[in-house]
Amino acid sequence: MKLELRGITKRFGALVANDHIDLVVEPGEVHALLGENGAGKSTLMNVLYGFYDPDDGQILVDGVPVEFAGPGDAMAAGIGMVHQHFMLVPVFTVAENVVLGYEPVKGGGLIDLAEARRRVKEISDRFGFDVDPDALVEDLPVGAQQRVEIIKALSRDAKVLILDEPTAVLTPQETDELIAIMRQLKAAGTSIVFITHKLREVRAVADRITVIRRGKVVGAARPDSSETELASLMVGRSVSLGVERAPAQPGAVALQVRGLSVLDEAGVLQVDDVSFDVARGEIVAIAGVQGNGQTELTEVILGLEPAVAGSVVLDGTELIGRSVKDVLLAGVGYVPEDRSADGVVADFSVAENLVLDLFDQAPFARGISLDLAAIQENAERRAVEFDVRTQSVSDAVSTLSGGNQQKVVLAREMSRPLRLFIASQPTRGVDVGSIEFVHKRVVQERDSGTPVIIVSTELDEVLALADRIVVMYRGRIVGTVPGGTDRDVLGLMMAGVPQAEAEAQAATHHTVLGEADIEASEEESK
């Protein structure tokens, strides 16, 4: 099936998310849609999927103009979508999720579960997915949930499959399996639209690449273009990938975490007997797939959650059992994982957000009143120092882009004298330009002698920043490896394989992306 988009325009108020976008997806090709966060890729796909009405433009299927009133129409036309945030009902079984919306029924409107299971089985067997139709979706790992999404699309006879940032939540090995699935689908004649901002993956699987920037198509590229070329096309200026940094000069051990355990509300161990050290002037990255205890680990250090066992000693002082305020005042800087929920107060101004932790201290407070002049002055200074792009520091922080919001958080957390800096997912939802800035500031903080903990699910980020890498899996530390460790080894460790075994396995079998890396470095050395 050939799919064509002509002059698609979608506005949200004054914002033009898609500006006359043209795109052609040929039958049986993997077409990558490359662009930064916020470039308008997902909006475009939601238009194509019938989720949004376009303000202008046309969708053609096999040369015939079509109109989609809703996702149901798009599915009927053979378009399937695997959303970045899975569209699965967690408390339903796999079979129920797959048939939802076009359920096979027996008499009386009762669902024919046997038929539903058969549909799941059939596709699951055809592609070698190992998915139990009766498993509850919430009990499945993310990789399996993604396969359920693919089964869901294929069971509706999708001829074009849209994958929206499919690798964001996967380990490198799971990504590898996904790439294999994509190739298999392509061989079976299914076209794939692959939305991503990850350059390495694009080069590994795409037949053609369309690059989108600020809602417009800015060019096409061949999969053999170099990463730097793709990146500059995507960002609109030349960017340096990776941070230039001097080797770490680790000093004395500043933070000692010993035997730390955290339970969630249901009594399940989220952090399980975790011990590690961080020295002054070193960046320790905590790597792992989302949901393996990293979030809880940082939250317990800050005092947001109680620990059931263990200790966290910073420069000789125990942090466990102290209030969040005490911990902050003890010199811990903390960039939370979910910026919009925990990092900023969206309706407060930039200036107010910059003193959220210090508003009751001199110089921002005088007695019971705020010193507005001091807050204003501080904000203007920080905005310059951290390159926060805003019309005025009195603007609500919600009017800023994700990258600039993150710079506000960073500016706040780094403006106190720090004895420990923790950043969770410091560049999630941040544009490439700002990523560079954030990474530079983190390295700068390290070079000034602060011990730094970075929690990241992005291997690129881990490898760019870490002096040492602690890999977590199901709340436990699988191993601690030096920075610059092979991606495939890290990937296997993120899936719970111990270090020695991971190294042995990675040596015999490289992932597609791992191989691409090796080839690229060989080419460079030539």
Binding site: Y49, F51, Y52, G70, P71, G72, D73, M75, M81, H83, F86, M87, L88, V89, P90, V91, F92, E96, N97, L100, G101, Y102, E103, V105, G108, G109, L110, I111, K152, S261, L263, E265, A266, G267, L269, D272, D273, V308, A309, Y473, R474, R476, V478, G496, P498, E501
Partner: protein, 431 residues
């Protein structure tokens, strides 16, 4: 000793003491304290020598079971000691981190209730009619069951329905008026759901069309319905009571044979059409909500509306129709207050039953059979107060009147434990 030497190579095979959550003794202490208090009040303090009589059979049963008389103090003491033993068992279970089944609070409650009954009617000439106690419980549970099912239908679709109270009241009003005008209790029964559905229609109009907070709309609707019905009552019904507000009573239908089984028969099968309708609605919903296409879509919309939307299910339309259907079910429950009893409509006659129905829905964990069980519990508490009031007990009547509400609070706060409401409940769906 190879077992000792085996290396912990895989996560999960790690041997050693895992840290566990601190054991909570709150529940066992609660059980023990209440049982101890009951032992003191019912088993130790009362004078001895009095006797308590329970009657079981009614006249029409196939065979008669004799009333039985027991020594009050000894029986109450025995029952309370059994409850204390159960409390001890919960301590043991908590210490060994074992989960106790639902049977435990159920058995515990039955033991203490019998201890209470034994004590309350000690020394009275009148026997305590167990059958009619249960019969009345079922009867009083009727509006709660319908109300809870109404809440369930809308909340499963993601709309919080606080307006159950208003829907019951509107149903009661319209049922009374229609039944009086037509002189047919059954036509009243048909009219009641329409009134409830209209209240629901207002709820969804504001909650979905204008995205107003659902709890606020619900509360406002309750006040609105009280206002409208009270106004109409004072201005129209009060002066024309004979022509507009004296509904005929829904006749009791005895199911042949079944109604003559001792205990069960009179309780379940000597009821009105409204009660039989309730059996049908509970059973149908229990099957349809969890097994049908309609139910799957209903639950999908309440759990993850966007996921439902992406497979072509119209989220807001589903919410509108199911909430309106829920309103109709609640309206039917409202008929209980007027035509089922043959009573005239009175101002605010639902007396907070809609809120107790909401509690029954939560206690029943958003499932029809759970809602039924919870509503029966509340109905029993309600009827206990009535029956003991008639026999005359040492407990002041004001305290007896509190029983249903106290039971509601304890049940919802203590027994429910961690419940999982539909994930998207109360969240408007806007693309």
């Amino acid at each position: 000793m190879s077992a000792v030497a085996a290396p912990a190579s895989r996560p999960g095979s790690f041997a050693g003491a895992k840290p566990l959550a601190p054991i909570s003794y709150k529940a066992p202490i609660g059980y023990a304290a209440v049982a101890a208090l009951a032992t003191l009040l019912f088993g130790i303090l009362p004078e001895s020598g009095r006797r308590t009589t329970f009657s079981v059979s009614t006249r029409d049963d196939f065979f008669q079971i004799e009333s039985f008389t027991v020594p009050s103090k000894a029986t109450a003491l025995l029952l309370c000691l059994a409850a204390l033993a159960l409390s001890a068992w919960t301590f043991q279970a908590a210490r060994t981190r074992r989960k106790v089944g639902i049977w435990l609070p159920a058995v515990y409650a039955v033991l203490l209730i019998f201890a209470l009954l034994t004590w309350a009617v000690a020394g009275k000439d009148q026997a305590l009619p167990l059958t009619s106690l249960l019969q009345g419980s079922l009867f009083l549970a009727v509006p709660l069951v319908f109300g809870a099912l109404a809440g369930l239908l809308s909340e499963r679709s993601g709309i919080i329905n606080i307006a159950i109270e208003g829907q019951l009241l509107a149903g009661a009003f319209l049922a009374a008026v229609v039944a009086t005008i037509t002189q047919s209790a059954y036509l009243g029964l048909i009219a009641a759901p329409i009134a409830g559905a209209l209240v629901s229609a207002l709820l969804v109009a504001f909650a979905i069309r204008y995205v107003v907070d659902q709890i606020i709309v619900g509360v406002v609707l309750n006040v609105l319905v009280v206002g409208i019905t009270s106004y109409l009552f004072s201005t129209v019904l009060a002066d024309n009571a004979a022509t507009l507000n004296s509904p005929p009573r829904l006749p009791r239908i005895d199911i042949p044979v079944l109604s003559q089984i001792p205990v069960v028969g009179p309780v379940l099968f000597k009821q009105t059409a409204l009660v039989y309708l309730m059996y049908v609605v509970v059973i149908v919903l229990q099957v349809m909500v969890f097994k049908s296409r309609w139910g799957l879509r209903l639950r999908a919309v309440g759990e993850h509306p966007k996921a439902a939307d992406t497979v072509g299910i119209k989220v807001n339309r589903t919410r509108v129709w199911n909430t309106i259907l829920g309103g109709a079910v609640a309206g039917l429950g409202g008929a209980f207050f007027t035509v089922a009893n043959g009573l005239a409509f009175g101002k605010e006659m639902t007396g907070g039953k809609g809120y107790i129905a909401l509690a029954a829905m939560i206690l029943g964990r958003w499932s029809p059979k759970g809602a039924l069980a919870a509503a029966l519990l509340f109905g029993f508490a309600d009827n206990l107060q009535v029956v003991l009031g008639i026999i005359g007990t040492p407990i002041p009547s004001q305290i007896m009147l509190m029983t249903p509400y106290v039971v509601t609070i304890f049940a919802v706060a203590g027994l429910v434990g961690r419940v999982r409401a539909p994930a998207a409940e109360g969240v408007a769906y806007v693309k």
